[in-house]
Symmetry: D2
Subunit: 436 residues, 4 copies
Amino acid sequence: MSLKVTIIGGGSSYTPEIIEGFMNRYPSFPVTEIVLVDIEKGHNKLKIVTSLAKRMIQKSGLPIKLSYTLDRRKALENADFVATQIRVGGLDAREKDERISLSHGVIGQETNGAGGIFKALRTIPVMLDIAQDIHEICPNAWMINFTNPAGIVTEALLKYSPHKKVIGVCNIPFNMKNSVAEMMDCNVNDVEIEFIGMNHFVFGRSVYIQGEDRTAAVLEKMLQQNVDYSPANIVSIGWSETFIHALKMLPNPYHQYYFQKEETLEKDLTAFKENGTRSEVVKQVEMDLFEKYKDENLDVKPEELEKRGGAYYSDAACNLMDSIHNNKGDVQTVNTMNNGAIPDLPTNSVIEVNAVITKDGPKAIASGHLPLNIKGITIQMKAFEELVIEAAISGDYLKAYEAMVMNPLVQNEKKAKILLDELLEAHKDYLPQFQK
Amino acid sequence: MSLKVTIIGGGSSYTPEIIEGFMNRYPSFPVTEIVLVDIEKGHNKLKIVTSLAKRMIQKSGLPIKLSYTLDRRKALENADFVATQIRVGGLDAREKDERISLSHGVIGQETNGAGGIFKALRTIPVMLDIAQDIHEICPNAWMINFTNPAGIVTEALLKYSPHKKVIGVCNIPFNMKNSVAEMMDCNVNDVEIEFIGMNHFVFGRSVYIQGEDRTAAVLEKMLQQNVDYSPANIVSIGWSETFIHALKMLPNPYHQYYFQKEETLEKDLTAFKENGTRSEVVKQVEMDLFEKYKDENLDVKPEELEKRGGAYYSDAACNLMDSIHNNKGDVQTVNTMNNGAIPDLPTNSVIEVNAVITKDGPKAIASGHLPLNIKGITIQMKAFEELVIEAAISGDYLKAYEAMVMNPLVQNEKKAKILLDELLEAHKDYLPQFQK
Amino acid sequence: MSLKVTIIGGGSSYTPEIIEGFMNRYPSFPVTEIVLVDIEKGHNKLKIVTSLAKRMIQKSGLPIKLSYTLDRRKALENADFVATQIRVGGLDAREKDERISLSHGVIGQETNGAGGIFKALRTIPVMLDIAQDIHEICPNAWMINFTNPAGIVTEALLKYSPHKKVIGVCNIPFNMKNSVAEMMDCNVNDVEIEFIGMNHFVFGRSVYIQGEDRTAAVLEKMLQQNVDYSPANIVSIGWSETFIHALKMLPNPYHQYYFQKEETLEKDLTAFKENGTRSEVVKQVEMDLFEKYKDENLDVKPEELEKRGGAYYSDAACNLMDSIHNNKGDVQTVNTMNNGAIPDLPTNSVIEVNAVITKDGPKAIASGHLPLNIKGITIQMKAFEELVIEAAISGDYLKAYEAMVMNPLVQNEKKAKILLDELLEAHKDYLPQFQK
Amino acid sequence: MSLKVTIIGGGSSYTPEIIEGFMNRYPSFPVTEIVLVDIEKGHNKLKIVTSLAKRMIQKSGLPIKLSYTLDRRKALENADFVATQIRVGGLDAREKDERISLSHGVIGQETNGAGGIFKALRTIPVMLDIAQDIHEICPNAWMINFTNPAGIVTEALLKYSPHKKVIGVCNIPFNMKNSVAEMMDCNVNDVEIEFIGMNHFVFGRSVYIQGEDRTAAVLEKMLQQNVDYSPANIVSIGWSETFIHALKMLPNPYHQYYFQKEETLEKDLTAFKENGTRSEVVKQVEMDLFEKYKDENLDVKPEELEKRGGAYYSDAACNLMDSIHNNKGDVQTVNTMNNGAIPDLPTNSVIEVNAVITKDGPKAIASGHLPLNIKGITIQMKAFEELVIEAAISGDYLKAYEAMVMNPLVQNEKKAKILLDELLEAHKDYLPQFQK
């Protein structure tokens, strides 16, 4: 029986990780074919990654067929799963997001503030095209989306694409569980966290260890050890005791941008002056990685990869495919339809939530009402996400402005326009919907 | 390590079934002590059941300590689980419900119509007392409630008792899965049904076999084979093709009372004339069972027990305790807080729903909005349930009248009063809250 | 300045009432032109009514131009208000609704039960056509809809027509206020009733006299005097003390069909045997009226008209037009968008509600949550109405079946099909959407 | 017939305005007795104001009895209306709010940011005491609350006081209508604005002139004329074209603090450096006013009063009392229960909304869903308000911290604590609930 996975954005430096993920899960998830797809601009990288991936598979001795192509539609034929890990405009676009935002004293992080808005505006139309292809060519395939902003992109697809088998994944919940396991000195499989909220704005409401609610203990530990579970790509400042005691939940690292705005901005600006933008740092990291990948003796995933912000993304994705394929019925944290799980958010919006995973996809577990202390800001962020999606779909200038001015990291009527105009100009090649 | 289960209403004829359930699950759920509790009036039955249960355990050779007592508070000491399977007023009260209702041409079934209302009014105050005792004596124990109307009783407890570790169970979802397995000739473990609604008013929205959505096929099979999955205690008429095609879901057997009201009433009336009420039939069955139980050579659960309406109740309960104890994280169908799982029903109401079961109890899986074709009637039934609970708690005559007149099987302003007055008088010994 | 009113269904026997209404309000609502429109089949009646109306106006000496036409689109040119008072299929169709329903022991009343469903199925498509014409020809005109079932028709228009200036009116709230004024021996203008619910399923939650809440006193008076405010066209049985004390609100006469189902059915059946259906009675009344109308000496509205069920409809409509025209900002009871006024019903559904009337149309006054005692049944009725609308729009057999089986006056899976099939056949000429 | 009004905080410099208001409305609202109440600390001012008020009344020749007292409970006897216009801690407390906030670079405006939070924390307990007195002594009296933050205070009273006849009023909606009338060169009585939101966070969604929707024209006019309708007490910066075009609604002046945060802060800081805090400015204004009031020849309201931020407050209040007294049924903008009028906000929260005013109080007019562009921020502000109320009631440090950190003008975990601690210390005499 065939089991084919197509990876769109296959030329990414992360690809060796997902290849390793498939090899590790081969007994339960016996993938027979992997196709790596990319665009012309990424042709060279695609070839390098493909060669490394082939060496990795060869070493394992597993009967997995791997190939690459620039023909996306061809690559989708008979696919059972499609993983999407694209970056529209590449790191150059990210650099512009960061540079322009920071030049106006606004956070331009990849998925937050002005940067996150423009990443969404560039990405959503391309992802809708991909989903349309999937719907036509392999309508039974599950689309597993890693592309950021993962929650917003997934909501846009579930609202506007005919293809409804779409799930968003992120490594943050995975990282948070790992951090708790380290703090509490236990096995990560014994840790369960009840997540509530949206991608990159999710809270860990309760933490269970072997089924016991240990939330309070974990929070104290976190404060004592000043634990840092920020991924490599974002700042890490640490939380005050009062904030954690009032919150009574685990924040995620991206919450620093919202509740330590001034401090994170300062850190970002300092880093910017010293090392340039994060994207420039990443460009160098990527260049080094591809140098390594070219080495014909390399036949394993290089360790350096784990130091990237996106580490474990592929673990999350592989686990998900495994559970769907095997109708496991286990609980994983994904980006999927709310359906009432958080009654305070629109039923038809996408949340990051624990869900039971079966062959029929994820089903969110109901959480009841949001705690009052995060209710307002969470609903505000969701409404902001809706504005971004409407802007991305319509290409309407005023809608994009609304998204910008209502983002809590901007929320200034004049700065919003300056940022918007400058970013629209900088990215115009990737924003055809705004050129109408 | 001790693992103690207290069974309130232990003198029930169903007890051998739950004892067998514990023995079967001993490897994963190693119960060390079982205490059967009952009231003075059931002393004799309690002794008979205890003896049989002891013989059953002895035969198995398992190290389970079993005893009985009339002292409920003593029995609760150190309990880990408390199963409640009481019948306030016994079968005599049920007979009155049925006789009086039928004498006025109204369905008096145990959990539906006028009968269901009065069973709730009698039961809720007693269950609140039990929950209060649990809260004081063994606050960490989970209360597993079989007592009907299971959904209404569970909601009353979760709303008005300080003890919040309460779960309601019913065998109907279990029966429906069994019936599907038979129809589709597959293993019951391969069947998943997405249940939406409330206890005895639940629909099977989607049926999955090995993870594939086979709802349409199952519905056709059901129509072709005229499959009957009614439990022994209620009528069975069968559904028309048009109804099933319009419904697009699996009804549960109790829906006959609502959508075949005239026919079920006629059947009940005919049966009443021929054999008396269902409770009279049951009384005879019980008498026969207890005769059997007395036989000192009997050391297994007698087969006759499986022919009762409540068969498999204990399976549902034992599976639940097993999953809680072992923090399994599997999916079971229980009566628990909605929390948004069905956004059309109050967040703080109890629904019958698939839930993930861990040591922290059940967490409902979100379903999204009710299909329009059952939205109205489902919301009405839930509002009716709220009226019953308010009446049971307050002892307010007019609230009881509201519940009666708004029940779709009564819904007549004059008949509601006649029934109410006659039933209040008949049951006055068990309705102290109405005597104020 | 011109002020033109077009009356669709102008050949109705009720027309003299609305003409009188315009003449009475001439000082504040100086209508300059009235056009009566009807279909070919009603040509003769239209001519008779037009002649009478002309004599009435001539007598008044008011400068109102009145004419008739069969050309609907022409009649709409430059209209400021369009009143719709049509009856698709005429009294013959109503007779079939009643005869067929009653022959199966089901209430077939014009706006309730099986009769109401079929009246909606016949009427909605025609009304959508009319609204489409208005939208094209006189887009600024307000459409004032008298056509029953007025609430359902208005909701269908507001959901599916591009013309959004639509308001439904009914005389029941008006009658209820009149009855209260009589009971309490006060001026009807001093009576305010807070209405909650839907057309023909509305409750009077609070009754104010000169601003004082007198609800309890009014309810007692009603019980003492056994007050009857049923319109001429429906049964009148009277309410029991217990029902009224539990309800704590004013029911409307149509509630008898729901809470006195058996009794009203019996009355309807008896009347049917003695006098034929209500529609046959009405046919005779109409024939007599038109005989009168032909009398060239008649130049006033004949008194007999006030004995019809629809009396005062036109008062409600004329007051509404007057307030819109003059931007009065007073409070009237209309059928309009909920918008949250009753949070338990869909925001985008139509309710019968007190609303502030300005040039911009009606704005519903918020009521807060429905009292628990009517919450379930009210939501159920609204969901039923949605099913009817979906059936009327789609022409889908199963959707029509769903509406039939979920109507509380039918709610029997077999009877629903029998009624549906027989009525679809009987009305097939007026149900083109079901012939696809 | 007597008609008594009690004014709590009667020693306020605004009192002459409300006295004038009563005199102007005497024909329709014939007040017979006015009692001015204040606390010991305000004794001197109270005497001065009382003398002036007496001279004003004497000049008018109206038979209004006016007196003052420090005995609040006595003053409430037989009151029909109670106006509350207190300032707990006086202008000294306001000065601390402003100074401390600004010293940490945070907006400390009286009703926004850290200042608004502390004004609420000080005021709510005192207002609950007053409401309790009213409930005991004159339970039929309407409490008309001017005290800021008027919306939050009114919500706290409606949630936690047994006295439910409470309405909040503000002059901002009144000012906005006046500004529109000026801009559009029309009579203010011809202007209607549909307000949505909360006190000091309200938007004008639609503007009608003589019933015609002129919103777009008004917005253009506002941009062209750079119209300033800010009250005297707050900054005025003006809005950009893009913001207004995207908003498509009238903002209120306080929105500057949220969407021009940096600019308003800078203006406030500059003003602070030049003139000290706003409260210091006001202190001087007050001193000058009281000097004037002392003049025994003064027998009219001095013009200077109209230059204060709260001008027209008393107009709003007098109109409200007039409509209640006369059961007018007109539409006014007040702070009252939502009840579904804005379905996105809690049903039991207080909004600033157009409402029909009768003897039974205000009934909000339903608006339907919030436009998406303001949905998020409006819901967040309401959740913030709930946090403030919970903190004020409980005296819980962490709840107060939650309110502080979730306020969009603070939203920094560290700054929140610094502000909170410093303000709690500064105001400890007026925050007994936090001393437990």
